[in-house]
Each structure stands twice: as structure tokens, then as C-alpha cells.
């Protein structure tokens, strides 16, 4: 069934319109009534890998293959082509019998067509085909995969195909062939291959002890290689979560530090920031489609400004009047969050909005085979470090920052020496809200944007503030990144839910030991 290699290469070079390079009887068999004969013909056509054959098979799967006047023809809209030459028949023959493909043939066709796409000039098509074909390698597609490997240059596609090929060899009845396949697979670093090999460790799956030994060695080798990638991957996803937490918690830490109130609508400020990204995206798509990628950059000031504006309105109309009643502020700001959520629902609709990554943030880098670092997450880590630097400078190098720190430490004293605490409150609230808006912008690049996206973040951000201690930038950073990494590691061992509970228990126990956070401020107040 396998044509020789030189012939194949010659076939691939043929122009699309040339005659089919298969035995003339093949096409007739395709139109016969016998399913077995039909399937044999399909395989034969597939093995030829001729672009014309692809067209014929495609037509068959779409029900566009027919028999007319003793010839097999391809029907394309109004035109009728001779299947053997792909030349148009004029005038179109009046009567046509469509060739019916039954389910068995369709299955066969699906695999074959996917395998044939492996020879497509477009890399994306080949990659998709490789992933589809290797999910289930059939006897038909196996030779096609082998052939594709002779010409394939792309390392990603190559590795997928090679793995698939070794996988299919694992089913070979000859133990020696299996053993060499296992050996070849041992060089892989893919978690999928590891799972495959691990299955061979079982006596029922693999009768030959030699192959089992080889598989054990291969699994160990892969594990050793995977362990590093996994560790780095965990730390990376922890840092990525931590940087989002940091952006969410920085603003909360500032407002809580200055005014002693927890803003339950803080998560909704994230939502405002995320919807700013949605709006900017829509504006850019409409008016500056050629500069679409820059919508993210343009959204930075917009997200900050919009969230800060909402924050100032909240502070001026509600929170200011609840000064010294922190528990009631909790309720009032919860009310604000409900109103904001419902308002977002009314304006943008209840479903999640689509946010596209700009091209420079989509894709990923793969330093180790099992370590995929998405660019958007890397960008977010960098972004939050940048925001952190700006906030640090603002708090420690400007007059406003000095006032904010003064009010945080001792409101009455600051007021006595002439700090206008009311103005500082508003400014701090605007700053905190704006940072939350930036956090929302960052979130929009990696998570769903919806009216109630902010709800889950208030507790997590508060945990960061509790752990980090009030008014301590260093504490917030340590707590955010630490919590992010710890919860990602716990998630790996115990699952997300148990990890959440464990983090909560940890925070409660932590407060027992250090009620004032990681980095306690020295003070003399008893009611800290």
C-alpha cells in the first residue's frame, strides 16, 4: 500500500490541475456499491497524497462527488469537473448520481483528510492537522505521518508527529520494536508521553518485562526533566496570580491605611478598569484599526482615570459621611458594589465581554518543553512591577505621599500640623481606586470580563492587606506574591478548593502570631 519515496516526492511536485496519478480503476471503485472496495479506494487515493486526490476526497466527504455518464465527477456549484483530470466538463451532464458516503467511510475520510492536511504549505494548517491526527493514529494515517516527517521542518510539528509515530509503534506485537519505541519516547519531555509510558508499567497493559523495565527508566528520565519545568511553571503562575493580587490589594491597602475602612466595592473598581479596556478596544477597532494593538496602552490612563473618578464619587458621596463607623462603611460600600454591578449589566449586558490580546502580548515562550510561559502573563507581571514602582515613588518621594503616610500613622496629629485630612482622604481614595482600575485592565488580558468579575477579589485582596500589615508597601508586595505562589503550589497538591481553605486557615493562624501583619509598624496605640 505504501508507494516508494521518490515517486511520492515527484507526486507532491505535480501541479494541482494535472491528472490523478492513481490507477484509473480507483475512481471507479470509489463509485461502486461495495463499502470495502470504496474504503480501499479511499486509502489508495490518500496514499497517493496528490492534491487532486485531496480534492476528490473532500468532495466525497461533502457529498459533492457524483457519477455522470459513466465518469466520476466533482460537482462544484454550477461547474462539473472530471474527477480524473479535474478539467471542467462542458456542457454539464444532465443526470448525476451522488456517491453516498456511509458512516464507516466518513470515519475513514475524516482521518485521511486530516492526515493529508499534514502536507499543506501553511504552517498553521499543518500544526492543527498534526494535533488532530495524533489524537488517534489509524493504519491509514500512519504512513502519511511518516511521509510528512520526511519533509517537515518545523520543530514543534515534528515533535508532535514523532511522538505520535512512536506511540503507534507501542502497539506493535514485536517486543523489540516496542522497546526501541519506548527508548525513543524516553527522550521526550511531554507530559502526554509520560502518561502513555506510565500506562505500560502495568502488567496487564504490557506483558513483556523488558519493555516494562525500559518504560520505567524512560518515565523516570522524563520525570526528572519535567520536575524542573513544573517547579518553574508553578512559581511563574504563582507570581502571575500574585501580581494581580498585588494590583488589587495595593489600592485597598492605601485606602484602608488612610481611612480605616474596607471598600467592599473595590472589586467593582477592578471591573470598571476591565470595562475601560473593553471600551477602548471597541473604539480602536472602529476608528484606528491599523493601530489596534495600541489600545492596551491607550487604555492605561483611561482605566486609571475611570476607576479613580468612580472612587472619588464614592468617597465624596458616601464613605466620607461614615467616617469612624467602619462596620457601616462595609455595608454601604457593599451597596455601592451592587449598584455598580447592576449598572454594568444594564450598560454592557450580562454576558462576558470579549477582550482580545494585542498581538505583541499573545503567544508564549517555551524555554523547556513542558514550561509554557504565556506572553500576556509575563507582560502583566512586568506591568504590576511598574505600577508598584510608581506608587512607591509617589508615596515616598512626593509631598502628597508624605501627607498620605502622615494621615495613615496618626490622623489627629497630621491634622494638627496642618495637613488637610479631607483632601488627603479623597486623593488617597482616587489613587487606590485608580490602581484597582489598572488591576482590572491587567485582569481583562487574562480572565473573563463580566459585570460580577470583581466579586471574588475583595476577600483575596483583604487577605493580602491582613498579611502584609496596614500601610506597608513592602508587606503588601511580600504578601501578594507569597500568597500567589503558596496557593498555586497548594492547588497543585490538593485542588483549588482545599487550597483556598488552607490559605484561609493559614491567615487566621497567622493573625494569632502576628496581629499586625508581616511588617508591623511600631506604635503605642492599644487599639491597633
Amino acid at each position: 500500500m505504501r508507494p516508494s519515496r521518490p515517486l511520492l516526492l515527484a507526486l507532491l511536485a505535480l501541479p494541482a490541475s494535472a491528472a490523478l496519478a492513481v490507477e484509473p480503476g480507483t475512481l471507479a471503485k470509489l463509485a461502486s456499491d461495495d463499502s470495502d472496495a470504496k474504503i480501499a479506494a479511499i486509502r489508495q487515493l490518500a496514499a497517493s497524497a496528490d492534491p487532486g486526490a485531496v480534492r476528490v476526497l473532500q468532495a466525497l466527504s461533502e457529498g459533492a462527488l457524483a457519477v455522470a455518464g459513466g465518469k466520476v465527477v466533482v460537482v462544484e456549484g454550477d461547474r462539473v469537473l472530471d474527477a480524473a483530470t479535474l478539467a471542467e466538463i462542458r456542457p454539464p451532464p444532465p443526470d448525476r448520481d451522488t456517491v453516498i458516503a456511509n458512516n464507516r467511510m466518513r470515519r475513514e475520510l475524516g482521518g485521511v483528510l486530516a492526515a493529508l492536511r499534514l502536507l499543506d504549505p501553511d504552517r498553521k494548517v499543518r500544526l492543527a492537522a498534526a494535533q488532530e491526527v495524533t489524537r488517534a493514529l489509524s493504519p491509514v494515517s500512519a504512513p502519511l505521518v511518516e511521509r510528512a516527517l520526511t519533509t517537515e521542518k518545523d520543530p514543534e510539528i515534528r515533535s508532535i508527529l514523532e511522538t505520535a509515530q512512536a506511540e503507534s509503534t507501542l502497539k506493535n506485537p514485536d517486543p523489540a520494536a516496542r522497546r526501541s519505541a519506548v527508548k525513543a519516547l524516553g527522550a521526550s519531555s511531554s507530559p502526554r508521553v509520560r502518561a502513555l509510558l506510565a500506562r505500560l508499567l502495568d502488567e496487564h497493559a504490557e506483558p513483556d518485562a523488558g519493555v516494562r523495565r525500559e518504560a520505567k527508566a524512560a518515565v523516570d528520565a522524563i520525570d526528572a526533566r519535567l520536575a524542573w519545568g513544573e517547579l518553574v511553571g508553578r512559581i511563574f503562575s504563582g507570581l502571575s496570580l500574585g501580581s494581580i493580587l498585588l494590583l488589587a490589594a495595593l489600592g485597598l491597602a492605601i485606602t484602608y491605611g488612610v481611612m480605616g475602612v474596607i471598600n467592599m466595592a473595590h472589586g467593582e473598581l477592578l471591573m470598571v478598569g476591565a470595562y475601560s479596556a473593553v471600551v477602548m478596544q471597541a473604539l480602536f477597532r472602529r476608528y484606528f484599526p491599523h493601530a489596534f494593538d495600541f489600545y492596551v496602552v491607550a487604555a492605561i490612563p483611561v482605566a486609571f482615570g475611570a476607576a479613580a473618578l468612580v472612587g472619588v464619587v464614592m468617597e465624596r458621596t458616601v464613605i466620607r459621611f461614615l467616617y469612624r463607623r467602619p462596620l457601616e462603611t462595609l455595608l454601604a460600600t457593599w451597596g455601592l458594589s451592587l449598584v455598580l454591578i447592576q449598572a454594568a449589566r444594564a450598560v454592557f449586558g450580562p454576558q462576558n465581554a470579549d477582550v482580545a490580546n494585542p498581538s505583541f502580548m499573545s503567544g508564549s515562550v517555551t524555554p523547556i518543553p513542558n514550561l509554557v510561559l504565556p506572553l500576556n502573563r509575563i507582560a502583566i507581571i512586568g506591568f504590576s512591577l511598574g505600577v508598584l514602582a510608581v506608587v512607591w515613588g509617589l508615596l515616598n518621594r512626593t509631598r502628597l505621599g508624605l501627607f498620605v503616610r502622615a494621615v495613615t500613622q496618626n490622623r489627629a496629629m497630621a491634622s494638627c500640623v496642618g495637613v488637610s485630612t479631607g483632601k488627603v482622604d479623597t486623593a488617597a481614595f482616587a489613587l487606590g481606586a485608580g490602581i484597582a482600575g489598572l488591576g482590572g485592565l491587567a485582569l481583562s488580558q487574562i480572565a473573563n470580563v463580566g459585570p460580577d468579575m470583581g466579586q471574588g477579589y475583595i476577600v483575596d485582596s483583604f487577605m493580602v492587606v491582613v498579611l502584609g500589615g496596614v500601610g506597608q508597601l513592602a508587606g503588601a508586595v511580600g504578601a501578594a506574591l507569597g500568597l500567589g505562589v503558596v496557593s498555586k503550589f497548594l492547588e497543585g497538591w490538593t485542588g483549588a478548593v482545599i487550597a483556598k481553605i488552607a490559605v484561609l486557615v493559614f491567615v487566621i493562624v497567622f493573625i494569632q502570631k502576628r496581629p499586625q501583619g508581616l511588617f508591623a509598624m511600631r506604635g503605642r496605640s492599644i487599639e491597633a
Binding site: 462596620l327 476577600v459 484561609l504 487566621i508
Partner: protein, 372 residues
């Protein structure tokens, strides 16, 4: 008032009440135990005087909520501890009694198995250990009250011992509830996952949807509410209540006077959790379903708004608040569903800004103005 403190409990209980209280009590008893049950059972459906199933269930629901509101008022209004996790205790009580209700479905479930349907669905072969004995109503009721009490006691011990308070405490209770909700959403937890418990058939051997059962549950709830209000009233007027209120106002001074705030806070906190659990256990057979969304943080915070609307630090306030907000919700979510969240949000804002003492406080102020 000082003399009241020194008198022993029984004479104090029997001390004369103001006439308004007697009148209110009589009216409550007449309506809850006489009028509504009679009209529901004895008048024909469709008649002008008939009280529908819906009304009786809604009334039962409101009274359950009122018990929870009274429980929260005990710790928030009198102890200054705002819990955003009371729905957890409520739901745990509901789940506890729900276990009994699930077991008493027997083989009448969809799969006709001794196991609850969701376990058959998960392909479990036997009951998890914590389900043992739940076919006995008494044990299930004990669990429904004891588990939340134990959880509250342990959590409270840790939190109060390190003097976690104010917004710290509130947010941590919210986190606790949130974590518990995630836990109960999992199928492996053994409480029906997403769907929770439903499709109950009977309670104490009675068919659960029969009008007479409905009325019995309604009256039991009414009695529980009465007991909660009177019990809490007794408690907050006792020395215990005085110390609790003092801790709310100035914890450091109370400590300087030689009291240990931990004991008082912990006792009030645990009692409050038990009240919530009892309300939850009464709630589930009446509404016929319990699922993890009952313990969502949003539900917990709604309890706080019931108390705030009615008036903190009064005992009738939470009852009134729970009734008003629940009725408004029942009306608005059917009539104007898109406005309900706006309404609720504004209620949170406006009540905290303009009605710090709730409608009861407002009423009292107006009353005083009128008489003065």
C-alpha cells in the same frame, strides 16, 4: 435598673412588662397560631379569605429569616461584632436537618435506592461516615445544631483570643463562608454538590407538602421566633448582656475592670450561631431545597441589611427589617427583576447614611417628637 440585676432569674422573667409588649405578644400569638393557620386549613381555595400555600411558605420563610436577624443583632447590635458569615451557620443547620429529610425519602427517589439520589448518581456504594444515624430525626437535629455551634466556637476562640475585631473579623467571616461554599459545591463533599438537597417527601412521617404539615412547620417556626426574641431579650438585659454591650463600647476598659471579653464574646457568638442553625433547620422543610448558594457571601451580607433596616440594638427591629426586606424582594424580583439589585444597593447605602437606627429608631424618634 440596678435592682433588676441583683434579682434572680425567675422573678426577673416575671417582672411586669409594659402594656404595649403584652398587646404585641397577644397579637402575634393570635395571628401566627390562630388566624393564618385557620384561614389556610379551613377556608376553601379561591375564597376571599383563603390564605394560599405561597403566603404560608413566605410567612414561614420570613420568620426563619427573622430568627437569623435576631441572632445577628445579638452579636452585632449588642456585641459590636459584625459577622458576614451568618448564612454559613444557617445553611449548615439546613444541611443537618436536610440529611434527615433526604434519608426519609427512602426508596421513593428517582433511582429507588436506599442511598440519596445524588450518591447513586456519583456511583457511591454506601453512605459516608458522617451520614450515619441521620435517618433518626433527633440525631439529625442534634447535628444541625451542634456542628455549627462547634464550628462557631472553634472559629470564635481563635479569632477573639487574638482580639481580631472590626472589619478584620467581618472580612474573615466572609472568607470562611466563601470557602465553605466552595467546599459544598464539590460533589465529593457528600452533600449533593451544586444541586444540594431537594425533592423531599415527608418530615416526621408526614407528607411534606400537605397543608396540615405546612401549618405545623409554620407554627413551629413562629414558636421558635418567639422563643428567640424573648430569650435574647432576657439575655441582653441580664448582667451578661450588660457586659457584652460594655465590650462593644469600650473593650479595653472592660478588660481593665477585670472582665475577660473572650468568654462573653464567644458565648454570644456561639449562641448566635445556634439560633441561625435552628432557623436553617426550620427553613429547609418549608422551602423544600437547600444548596450551597445559601451560604454565598451575598446572602450573609443581606442578613446584616435586615438588621440595619430594622434597627440595631433593638430586638423587634431585626424582625421588622427581615420582614420588610424579604417582602420587598419577593415583590420586586417578580415585578421588576432588573431593579432589585439597584434597590438593594441603594437600601444598603441610604440606610447606613440616613437611618443609622433603622425604622424602629425612626419610629421612636417620631413618637418622641409627637408626645413631647
Amino acid at each position: 435598673m440596678d435592682s433588676a440585676l441583683r434579682r434572680p432569674a425567675l422573678p426577673r422573667l416575671a417582672a411586669p412588662w409594659p402594656r404595649a409588649s403584652w398587646l404585641g405578644l397577644a397579637a402575634y400569638g393570635l395571628i401566627a397560631f390562630g388566624l393564618l393557620p385557620t384561614l389556610h386549613l379551613l377556608t376553601p381555595v379561591g375564597s376571599l379569605l383563603h390564605v394560599s400555600d405561597f403566603t404560608i411558605t413566605l410567612g414561614g420563610k420570613i420568620m426563619c429569616y427573622a430568627i437569623v436577624a435576631v441572632a445577628l443583632d445579638l452579636v452585632w447590635g449588642y456585641g459590636g461584632i459584625l459577622s458576614l458569615g451568618h448564612s454559613l451557620f444557617f445553611a449548615l443547620g439546613g444541611y443537618g436537618f436536610g440529611m434527615y429529610l433526604m434519608r426519609s425519602i427512602g426508596r421513593e427517589g428517582v433511582y429507588q435506592s436506599d442511598l440519596p439520589d445524588f450518591m447513586v448518581f456519583l456511583d457511591w456504594k454506601k453512605l459516608p461516615w458522617y451520614w450515619h444515624g441521620t435517618s433518626h430525626a433527633a440525631w439529625a437535629l442534634f447535628l444541625a445544631l451542634a456542628v455549627p455551634a462547634l464550628l462557631a466556637a472553634i472559629f470564635g476562640l481563635f479569632a477573639f483570643r487574638s482580639r481580631v475585631k472590626g472589619v478584620y473579623f467581618s472580612i474573615i467571616t466572609q472568607a470562611l463562608t466563601y470557602a465553605a461554599m466552595l467546599l459544598f459545591f464539590r460533589n465529593e463533599t457528600g452533600f449533593g454538590g451544586n444541586n444540594g438537597f431537594t425533592d423531599f417527601k415527608r418530615v416526621f412521617g408526614l407528607p411534606i407538602t400537605a397543608p396540615s404539615t405546612r401549618v405545623l412547620l409554620f407554627m413551629a417556626t413562629a414558636a421558635a421566633l418567639l422563643a428567640s426574641v424573648l430569650g435574647t431579650r432576657y439575655l441582653v438585659r441580664s448582667k451578661f448582656g450588660r457586659v457584652l454591650t460594655a465590650i462593644r463600647d469600650a473593650e479595653a476598659r472592660v478588660m481593665a475592670l477585670g472582665y475577660d471579653p473572650l468568654r462573653y464574646k464567644l458565648a454570644a457568638w456561639t449562641l448566635s450561631a445556634v439560633l441561625c442553625a435552628a432557623a436553617g433547620a426550620l427553613y429547609v422543610p418549608q422551602v423544600g431545597i437547600i444548596n450551597p448558594s445559601e451560604m454565598s457571601p451575598a446572602n450573609s451580607i443581606e442578613i446584616a441589611i435586615w438588621v440595619a433596616v430594622g434597627g440595631r440594638g433593638t430586638l423587634i427591629g431585626p424582625v421588622v427589617g427581615a420582614a420588610l426586606v424579604t417582602l420587598a424582594k419577593s415583590f420586586l424580583t417578580t415585578a421588576y427583576p432588573e431593579f432589585w439589585l439597584f434597590f438593594l444597593g441603594l437600601l444598603f447605602i441610604l440606610v447606613t447614611l440616613f437611618l443609622p437606627e433603622g425604622v424602629i429608631g425612626l419610629g421612636r424618634r417620631l413618637w418622641r417628637k409627637g408626645t413631647a
